[in-house]
Each structure stands twice: as C-alpha cells, then as structure tokens.
C-alpha cells in the first residue's frame, strides 16, 4: 500500500489543471530570427509580446508572435509556463482583444516545423517550439527547460 502512494500522488498531480502541459517530454524554447538583433528575452518581455500588450522586440523592431495550432499540446504548455493559464482562459483573453477590435492574436502555424520555418525566414517573427526542432536557422532566447531547473 505504501508503495502505491507515490504513484497515486503522481497521478493526482498530473491531473491537476496546472500540470497537464508540464507532462510533455520535450521542453519548450522561444526562438527568434538570428537577424532580429535579440540575444535573450525576459519572461515579462515574452508575456508582453505573446499576450499582445507590447509587440516590440528588445532590439526595437516589431515582434510578430506565432502560436502552434489552436488546441495543441505545445500551445497549452507554453501558456501554462508563461502566464499559468489554461487554453480556455487564453482563448477568452484573446476573444476580448480580437472582437473588440483592439489587436490581432498570434499567427497560428499548423506545427512546430512550420513555426521554425516562419521564424527562419522573417526577422520579426518569434515562436515557441520543442527544443528538438531548433536548428542553426533560429536562435533560442528563452529555454523553459533550463529556466525550470534550480
């Protein structure tokens, strides 16, 4: 019975709303174009860009954020990590901004590979992808896997 307890706790923790996204194997990273002039990005700057508050990269150019899908595991994990919100809360947030006509949501790429391609070919683009998809065409400015470690 005692040996079952850790497993039961693990299942319960995994079922908590805040930990659904964190169960993904690959850590997410935020990537930009190497020509963007950005070396690193703070969490608060990423919040401003992806939540439509202030779409400007630290180098001064316009930021063009990219989401992966609408209900993808990557999108779910990213917003849990960034603002600790689930997708219904994120969708509600964007519904207010979009239908009030204030601003537009991030462009939706169908998958991570497309997001990498878009970032590689656009100086303003910024996206989150699995670290395994990163190659020399893009630059990592936030590594959530590394940030999560003490």
């Amino acid at each position: 019975m005692a040996s079952l307890l850790p497993h039961l706790l693990a299942v319960l923790v995994a079922l908590l709303p805040g930990t659904i996204g964190a169960a993904r194997a690959e850590p997410l990273v935020v990537i930009v174009n190497p020509a963007s002039g950005v070396e690193k990005l703070s969490r608060e700057e990423a919040v401003n860009i992806f939540m439509g508050r202030y779409r400007k990269l630290p180098s001064g150019i316009l930021a063009f954020p990219i989401d992966i899908g609408s209900q993808s595991p990557e999108r779910q994990q990213f917003y849990r990590l960034l603002v600790r919100k689930d997708l219904p809360e994120i969708d509600a947030y964007w519904a207010r901004l979009v239908f009030s006509g204030q601003t537009s949501p991030p462009l939706q790429a169908p998958d991570g590979a497309t997001a990498v391609q878009l970032v590689a070919s656009n100086r303003s683009a910024i996206a989150y992808v699995d670290r395994a998809l990163v190659d020399a065409r893009v630059k990592v400015v936030i590594d959530f896997g590394r940030a999560a470690k003490p």
Binding site: P17, G18, N48, L107, L118
Partner: protein, 411 residues
C-alpha cells in the same frame, strides 16, 4: 434611412477592399480571417410588471414568469483582413434584440488599423471605445466570467462604438507597460426609458482619453471623457407648460430642460488582477451632466473569480446611485398642478437610476471555445430606469431575483 444607406455603402466598400489573397499563411502577406461569437442565454424571474434587461438600449426585456431567450442572446461575425504587418481592416456585424425588439444585424465595427511603429496604433472608422473599461467587449460573453457585464455600470450607455478615430501610444515604464490613448467621434443609439419611451442619441459626440499601466498581473486604468448629446430630450410640451406656469422655479426648470448644449463628463477608474487562479475586477465611474435632466451618477462593480480548472465560480457586486437634486416647480401640489409637478419630476428621475445587485455564478468550459454559465442575481432597485417598468416605478426599494443560464461560444 440615410444612416442605413451609409452603413451599407461602408460595408460594401470595406468588403471590396479586402485583400485578395485570402488564407495566405506567410508573415507579412495578405491574410483574411473570419471569426464570430455568440451567446444563447435564458433568463427567468417572477417580478410582476417588470422587464429585466442588460442595457438601456433594449426596448424589451425578460418578462415575469416567462423563460426569456432574447435579452442575453446575440450573434456576431467579424472579418479581419491584414494587408501587411502594418495595416488591417476589421468589419463586424452583430444581431441582437435592439430598442424595437428587432434582430436586424447592425454594423458594430468597420475600421482601418495602422501600426506605423510598434509603439503606436491608429484606428479610423467605426471603432469601439473604452470610456468604461472593457466596454468594447461587453457583447463577447466568452471573454468574461459573468453571463452579462454589470448592468449597473455598462447598461447605462446604449452603444460602445463611435464613428471616429483613436490613437494609442505604448511604452515601457519601469518594469511594466504604460499606454496612453485618445479617442473621439460621433455616437448614437437610443435610450429606452423605464416606461418604454425612446430618447434618440443620434448625432451625439463622445471624446476622451485614458492612461493605463500594466505590471505583471495588474492592470490599472484611469479614463475621462465627455458625452455631448446631439438632440434635445423629448420634453417640449413640458417646457411650454413650465413656462406658462410662471413661477421662478418653473422658469429655471424650463430653461434647464431647453438647454441644447448638454454635456456629461465621465471619470472612470479600473483595476484588474489576473494571477491564476484569481481574477479580480474593480470599476468605478462618476458621470455628471451639466444641465437637468442629464444624469449625475456614481456607479461601480467588483468581481472576483477563482479558477478550478474547467470550472470558475465567481461573485460580483454592482451598484448605481444618483446624486442629482430633484428640483420642484414652485407650484403647489394641488389637483390643478399635480400632473405638471409629476411630469417635471418624472423628466428629472428618468435618467437617475438607483439600483444595486449581488450575483453569484459558475462558468464551466465544456469544450474548446465553448462555455456554459449559470448565475443568480439578487437585484434591489428604486425608481431604476435600467429595467423596464411600464407602470409607475416604486418609490420604495424593491427586490427581484433573476436566474440566468447561458452558452457562450467563439469561432
């Protein structure tokens, strides 16, 4: 008819100007997206002779002992057309029960947005204004917790859009984001008073500005604005009768009612806190008209929600109170003058609601982009014009309980 013709032309021109390469997914290329939002809502209450509504723009409300599907229900469609990374066109139409109980669709947004710089945004056309915080999204039920935004705060203004322009400038201040915004234009709509009579606001002007600071989970906002009414209130026979009465008080009252330049000034404070699992909102408003019978109001709302995954229980308190002095005619309340005294009083109280409500509810996200809400409102009112009461509104406070159920969706 003329206004309708202009709207249709504006819509046609807007559609004709949409970028041709619909659906292109590359950054910076032309892109067209079609989206929409809607609410299917049901209301029930048993307060006889009273119709519950969510805003003074509605000419019909939820009647007693009937399940009403019209007050909270609506549907909207929106087309966003991006020309490039700097220009975007937005068109939106909404169908809902209006001042005549009609569901005729209305063009609610139709503007060009321009980002000349990451810090600067300009919009021109039919735009939503945020004189009251988040008033421009009050029809988007999926975007907030309650079934309807506070009736006591948002129900006073019949429209949330202007035909005009706004400009906003955003900049980093300390560790947060500061934003300053100015807007101005023509607004309209119709106020339906408690007795069912209509007051047109067409040709009215609205201008103002706001400063906002966003820091981590906090947003704090202060805004001010001026509403200049375009038409005189429909009290001409009353003005003539007051002039005929001949007392100094009745003359002064007639002069006040006859004043064409009617301004209402607004001062609004808003604060929002969004840190999972909490959602908190506080909005406080003061509105002061310079000539009777324009309103002198203080209203506000406090909302708290606690997210439990798919379910979010919430509670709110909202209130509106008038501090306008109800002036007499100087005439004795004899049978000869009773009708005139009553009409003068009615004209002054028609824009002076006194009402507060306490609401508890639950939002449940049943599927992606679909939620279900259940809510109970305990409303206390006295002579309020936020609800329809085709009989004489009571002088003493009265209570009513309103049950609501709503399904919100976006696509």
């Amino acid at each position: 008819m003329k206004v309708r013709w202009h709207r249709e032309v504006a819509l046609a021109i807007g559609l004709a100007c949409l970028p041709a390469a619909a659906g292109a997914a590359e950054l910076g290329e032309r892109r067209v997206t079609l989206g929409g939002f809607g609410t299917l809502g049901a209301i029930y209450h048993d307060a006889e002779d009273r119709e519950y509504r969510r805003s003074t723009a509605q000419g019909e409300g939820a009647k007693a002992s009937e399940v009403d599907f019209e007050t909270d229900s609506l549907i909207g469609l929106q087309i966003n057309a991006s020309w490039n990374q700097q220009f975007e066109t937005v068109l939106q139409a909404v169908s809902r029960s209006d001042e005549y109980g009609s569901w005729r669709p209305r063009l609610t947004r139709g503007f060009l947005r321009w980002y000349p710089d990451p810090s600067l945004m300009l919009r021109a056309g039919r735009i939503g204004h945020e004189l009251l915080p988040r008033a421009d999204s009050r029809d988007i039920g999926y975007s907030y917790l309650p079934i309807r935004p506070s009736v006591e705060v948002f129900g006073v203004l019949p429209r949330d859009e202007i035909d005009g322009a706004d400009i906003s400038y955003t900049h980093e201040i300390g560790e947060g984001i500061g934003r300053i915004k100015m807007f101005g234009g023509e607004t309209g709509g119709t106020v339906v008073f408690a007795d069912g009579s209509h007051g047109s606001l067409s040709g009215s002007k609205l201008w103002g500005g706001s400063i906002e600071y966003l820091y981590e989970s906090w947003t704090v906002r202060l805004s001010t604005g001026v509403f200049l009414r375009g038409q005189e209130p429909p009290v001409d026979p009353l003005i003539a009768a007051l002039r005929q009465a001949g007392t100094p008080e009745s003359q002064e009252l007639a002069d006040e009612f006859a004043e064409k330049d009617r301004r209402t000034s607004f001062l609004v404070f808003g604060a929002a806190y969004d840190e999972a699992p909490w959602q908190l909102r506080l909005f406080l408003v003061q509105a002061e008209g310079d000539h009777s019978p324009t309103p002198k109001l203080r209203n506000g709302t406090l909302l708290a929600g606690y997210n439990l995954g798919r379910a979010t229980p919430y509670a709110s308190f909202s209130a509106i109170d008038s501090y306008a002095e109800i002036r007499g005619t100087g005439l004795p309340d004899t049978p000869q003058f009773a009708a005139l005294n009553a009409a003068a009083r009615q004209a002054q109280t028609a824009s002076q609601p006194q009402q507060h409500s306490f609401a508890v509810g639950l939002r449940y996200d049943i599927a992606p982009k679909v939620d279900l809400k259940v809510q109970i409102d305990q409303v206390r009112l006295r002579g309020s014009n936020l609800l329809l009461d085709r009989h004489s509104p009571p002088d003493d406070y009265d209570d009513m309980t309103v049950f609501g159920l709503a399904l919100d969706f976006i696509f």
